[in-house]
Symmetry: C5
């Protein structure tokens, strides 16, 4: 079970549409889906204790063994998923279980915590607000916590939210240098959870903007925006929900690898996760409410359109009828009964007055019912 076999496979492009990674039916469990010609992952080792600090880019994985022996805490940061060679090397150095490696490599997985006796695997999802503010990117971060080391694997090496932690270690701020690998794992988890807040803040602003838009000028694009927000909040929810369970199981089940001191900190991290979930649920409820409001606002608008049509029709159709009557050609020479009005001295003024009175009373009728207010 300790030896890993890496058949040459590739990560099929069609998996991108799905939320989670899946083995195409027929593939073996524990198989790594990595492209053979992918570059090896870049390895960065940060090694520290109370008094010393070193940051090294590792060329030959074998040198990691040295770090594991000499320093108190070794943080091996794997940037990118690497290739099979990477994992053959890391697998034997850290003695990783086949299923553990599979969960790290076959991304994305659902956040979870798994206990492999002397190692703890923590799968987390990191979200990063996109700089051009058009949404966010999601990325899996895997943490393998051992006695005096922490192995972290990031899907996309370009950006992460661990910058603050690295600086704190280097400058010896806070208590991170005085604590073990478990505290480091907590710091990273905390940074990941804190990364959700700016994303939520962005959606909070979006919803606030939409609240105005939906009532005052609902258009087709409003609808699209509401739907998009609902969809993306669903994605965030799916990322944070299992994360909460994972952190909770860390606290509840305990582990020899996590000291009591760090438990207190994890409790704080758990609170933050609950706060994120709280906000996601709130925003989801608001977005659902907005959809209701949208539907009502569209109906409202239709009412106003209909009112306008009705006012115009109801006023002019009777008038047109009157004009039509006096446009008839009954032969006045044949009978005094045939349209005598046409021959009256006051015929035309009488007719205009009739029209005026008709229009006036209709306008009055609509004005009384307050239709002009909302129409014009």
């Amino acid at each position: 079970m300790s030896k890993l076999d890496f058949p040459s496979t590739y990560r099929s492009p069609e998996t991108s549409r799905l939320e989670y990674f899946y083995d195409r039916p027929g593939t073996m469990p524990g198989q790594l889906h990595l492209s053979e010609d992918a570059p090896p992952a870049e390895l960065v080792s940060i090694d520290y204790d109370r008094d010393s600090f070193s940051r090294t880019i590792i060329k030959d994985p074998e040198t990691i063994n040295e770090y594991l022996k000499t320093h108190t805490v070794s943080w091996i940061d794997v940037l990118g998923l690497g290739n099979n060679a990477t994992w053959e090397a890391l697998g034997s150095i850290f003695n990783l279980h086949q299923m553990l490696v599979e969960d790290i490599v076959n991304v994305p997985q659902r956040p979870k915590v798994e206990d492999y006796q002397d190692q703890l695997l923590i799968i987390a999802t990191m979200v990063i607000l996109n700089p051009d503010r058009n949404g966010f990117v999601k990325e899996q971060v895997s943490l393998v916590l051992g006695k005096n080391y922490l192995l972290t694997v990031q899907e996309e090496p370009e950006q992460d939210c661990f910058h603050g932690v690295r600086k704190r270690i280097e400058l010896d701020r806070g208590i991170v240098r005085k604590q073990g690998a478990d505290y480091l794992a907590y710091c990273l988890l905390d940074a990941i959870v804190d990364g959700f807040f700016p994303v939520l803040e962005y959606y909070g602003e979006l919803i606030e903007e939409l609240e105005n838009e939906v009532i005052t000028r609902p258009t087709r694009s409003t609808l699209e925006k509401i739907y998009k927000i609902r969809r993306e909040l669903l994605t965030i929810r799916r990322a944070i929900w299992p994360q909460r369970d994972a952190i909770n199981s860390l606290i509840r089940d305990g582990s020899d690898l996590i000291s009591n001191d760090v438990q207190v900190y994890l409790r704080d991290c758990y609170d933050h996760t609950v706060q994120v979930m709280d906000m996601v649920e709130t925003y989801r409820e608001l977005a659902t409410g907005l959809m209701d409001v949208y539907l009502s606002a569209v109906s409202n608008k239709m009412n106003e359109i209909m009112k306008l049509l009705t006012v115009v029709s109801a006023i002019f159709i009777p008038l047109t009828f009157i004009a039509g009557v006096y446009g008839m050609n009954f032969d006045r020479s044949k009978s005094p009964l045939n349209m005598p009005e046409l021959g009256w001295y006051w015929g035309y003024p009488f007719c205009l007055a009739l029209m005026g009175i008709t229009a006036g009373s209709l306008v009055f009728f609509f004005w009384k019912r307050g239709w002009f207010k909302s129409v014009i």
Copy 2:
């Protein structure tokens, strides 16, 4: 862990939009977000037992140590979040854990109870009905309960709902002077929970008003009001829900710091929290129901508008057609078949009668179906 380091940071304005406080990604856990130039918090000590009572504004925090030794119960009320100096002083006097101080200072946090061996941290949310009746303000109140002291921290010192408790202590009403700090904590929690009721009462009235408005005269602003109420009830719900969990965990998990006598009182406080939640859920259901009613009422109104349009159109369009027919210019001199009606002696009266009968039967048709009732 006992020493606190306070880097100079400021509370960024953009956090105001969010429900909860969050560390900007990259900041250290346990860091206090206080402006360096903020004034120190005002400290008020109320010190009492069965026989004595003193109320002092504390200038030098070190004097608190005296109060902690001499009197039975010391209530240190911190008005405002203060600055780093405030917390350095209080932290060493009360021997506060770094994470505890962070939860107090980095507001708002989710209500919760945390047990720090010889101290109990209770985070609660206080809501106060706005005097100009346009909603409510929300504020975090933190309680640190020790053996013979209670440290309370209020976000906004201008207003609170502890006035009644202070008066009771001073005038020795009820049993508060005969009990310990745990009873005092209960009194304050009870006052906080009772503060939700006037706010809910306000929303109850609002909903009652809207119930009339939504059925008789639904307008765009009705929609806005319903949405606003739903949104604000969501906020109250988010405040009271964790508060219930917190008080429940106080009762269930027990603590050496809370006597059995006070447990009975806490049970009553828990009942009140459940009542608040009950009412919030009820109001939320009513508000959701109102949205349905609104949509139906708008559709109803459209029906009436359409009926009016249809009645007017259906009556006058056929009449206009008849008038149009007799306005045609067929040459009667060319053929006796060309519009002989125009030459009849009773031509015009016959035509008017035709119109009258047409209109009459249409009116009868609509009257039978009851359209006039709802239209006019």
Copy 3:
């Protein structure tokens, strides 16, 4: 803790709008909200065992002590909430805890069961169908069960549902005279729960009536009725839900005051509560469904109105156009091309035929699509 202090307060009228009683922020816990000038409550004692029965109106509360000593089961029925004097007397006779009295007096409270060592407080909600069938009234009934006595307090003394129980005791029907105070408490609880059924029956009938109305002739008042039912079912639900929890906790937690025999009966009472809840939920679902049906029915009706308008317009507008064409005044003397139809021998009949064919084919078109069925 045994001494009660009753400050003179009054029950503020503005609390009536709220579902539950609440202390105005600033008041003391355990304070009774009774008007100083309220009359003392009327006390009725029913005292019985296997062989004896007496029913007395008690003038001087002190005489209760006699009843408590001599007879097996003493049922003290307090009609009305009384004043402070009433509770000072009762408090010392029955040795009532301050919080227990508060729950009895500061109505309404949420139904619950609380264990005070040698006393069991049961708060229940009684609903009584209004005789003029316009809804129901809600009232709190509090039961204090002791070893050989039962103290009951009713908010409104005018009406209750205990008549049957009183008669059964007096006439020695059933086993009530052979059992203790716990069986009496069960009988009263059972009568309270049974009181929900006629109210639900009333709403069942209302819903059945509305089902017809909503599909055949939906009007604005239908909407109001549906909303009213939803609102009132919400009230009943809020009354019965905690009642179930209360009775369940009686069964589950047990108590020395309740014998095993009575447990069997309570199980039956619990079943009835679940049945009430079941029906309330069903009615609520039906009412929600009715709202959907209403919205659909209104849309349906609009469709029919629109169809009528469209049929009338589509038939007459083309006809009016034809009439309009032959009403034009082109100068036939100037050109043989100018409206030669007007000079034809069969001109007018041709024109009428054209109109007839046009109208006929439109009517056929609409008839084929089945529009006349739903319109006329």
Copy 4:
């Protein structure tokens, strides 16, 4: 507690509207609601073991005692609820608790299992598809399981679903003759649960039919049908939900009266109950979805009606206007500017051409936007 008293009461007709039986407020617990002049129930005894079988219609209940002593398994089937005399006899023969008899007689009750030391009361609901396929009938079946006997009571003796079980016993098919009364009880429960499937199948078909109807030709009666299905599925759900709980509690809590072998069979019966619930929930979701589809389809249809109206109006109204212009009577003799078109040689053809071009471009405009597709 063993003696039953049966006051002469009758089952009031107005209870029929309610889902569950309830005592009118004021009646005694444990009272049987049976008409005094009801005929006694018919009793059928089926008595069998491995080798013998007898089926007897019992005239004198006292003879049951004989059956209880001599044969291994005695199934006493009570057809109809009988009268007080029936239950006085059965009560003393089987030594039935007052509350047990009440649950059997005061139908309908919620399905449940109750343990009376040496007897197990199982209340179940049987549904039978109505032969004329217009719904289903619901009936309570009560089973009292003793050591070597099973007493079953059916509300309506005309129809049941136990025919198969009776035949199996008589013909000695399967293992029923080799097992005890507990296996017989299982067989009956299984038959009851299996009886739900044909009813659900019927509703499955109804929903499938409605799916077509709702999209292609939604009418008012479609709406009524959807609502009816929702309502009846609610009834089935209310019948099967507590049945599942009842069977589950049989398995979970165990009982001396049920052997381990029969437990395996009950597990299978439980699975069937869950399947029924599964299907009910699915159908309910489908019916709710259908309501949404209905609303959308009605809106869709209105769109098409409006399109037709708009097409007709938009094409003919401008044409009518043109005709109206050339129907004006400006005096051409007074001024060459007054409607010179009327005197043109090509005046009328020009006018017709203008109309043709106008109509043509409007038709093109609507055709381009695809309106004709959906309208005609």
Copy 5:
């Protein structure tokens, strides 16, 4: 209990409409519903250990006994449900409980795990994406896990998703040849769960397509598609939900038949099941959201239609009225007041100008309100 009796019955065609198999009321529990003239099932035995591998098509079921004795792991794959003869033979060879065989044969059953002391029955549902991409097919797979054998039964032998597992065993890839029958069972379960992903991927694509369609061009067929997706996701959900419970109970309850090593793998399989459920729920929420969007989009479209109608009507109806006025025939010779405009020199130009100004200001009015944007 070990002997099986197989009465000749047939699987009624009308059960196909139902989700689950059910005994027609009146049939015996444990009876197999197989057609007497059905062909016997094809049996394939795959027999392997570390060093050997054989694949045999079994003619005479009795030879299975040989396989069970000689080889380490025997996988007996039963293709098709077979007939009574098949199950009589298999029943006696594997010593199968009557209820176990019933669950295998009377398909479909709800996924579940049942423990028969020395055998574990696992019922699973396999979904296979239909090659012509018009949905998926569902099939029951039953696994009977013994000490050194695995019996699998497939409803439809034509297609399964076990191809990959067979190849892995034959080519000795991975660790399957080094593990027992429990690992083989895990491999098959994993293959079944992985089979859900392509189906979900298909629905994910469908939803993505619909998202565009619903906003830009909502038609009646869009509605049908959304409803179809909702319905089919409901089916998938009903298949995966109990599967999760089944696998969870395998992990939680354990079994002597499953080694600790395989438990680790089952945990992974469980994770995949949760991921499937997660995605199904997400897609269901999206589909529900799409229905809301559809309704809003249809309303939106109606608004645009109404706007067009209103614009056309509001502009031309007043113009037609003006034309009507000057088409009246008042006798100008009788009075100078009768339509003097007709005799003006600038009469006609004035009239046209009046019409132009009227039309122009109406167009301006609508243009200002932005109606032309959305209409044309």
